[in-house]
Amino acid sequence: VSVRLTPGRLSIARAYAALADPTSGGVVLFVGRVRPDRRRGGEVSSLFYEAHTTVALSAMAAMETAARGRPGVRQVLLWHRTGDVPVGEPSVIVGVGAAHRAEAFEACRSLIDELKSTVPIWKTDRARPARRRPRSPRPRARGSAD
């Protein structure tokens, strides 16, 4: 399936396999992953993604059709995860198979930019509380005898 919104884990291997057309001389996969950014409440442990599913899928399908109309582009894949996505796991995969690398890179870049700004998907941080640092031993007064 070239366009997908799913609560299931996204597989990079499956995404690559879905673009397995030998006429594509270049395949570009962009994988967006959840970063463990620091927030006021602690460190991000996961991101929660929600979507207006029908509108999002229709926007993604339109993007896929438009991208396949670009010169040289043979296959396009847009997968986005929904629900809770832990740090380190992919939240989005955009893939393009094209005759040549320049077309694949260009299409992939514009697809991820367009997806982020035009598809109704939202993320919310979920932070794990900051760990309290163990107290370091109080430095001894200078000149004290040991």
Partner: protein, 85 residues
């Protein structure tokens, strides 16, 4: 028969209203989108700021802004700025 419209709220809009879906009675002739939004702002003051930066989708189609008319059974979705990826 009760005439209602459904308002779907996402992300910051949902947090501001404390609900992801609101079913609201409307007059017999329907309701203008700006009127409905004013009523929502009155009921959920925290929505005011979110509405100024949101897009609006009526029955799956984007509106050009906070404009248009809703009839019985219509759905209006409130989309704050997107943050997918």
């Amino acid at each position: 028969m009760v005439r209602t419209v459904t308002i779907r709220l996402f992300a910051q809009a949902r947090e501001a209203a404390g609900a992801s879906e609101i079913h609201r009675p409307i007059p017999e002739g329907g309701i203008a989108v700006p009127t409905l939004l004013r009523e929502l702002e009155r009921d959920f003051p925290r929505l005011r700021r979110v509405l100024t930066i949101s897009r609006f989708v009526r029955n799956g189609e984007y509106l050009p802004g906070p404009v248009g008319h809703l009839s019985r059974g219509d759905e209006l979705a409130i989309h704050p700025p997107y943050s997918g990826g």
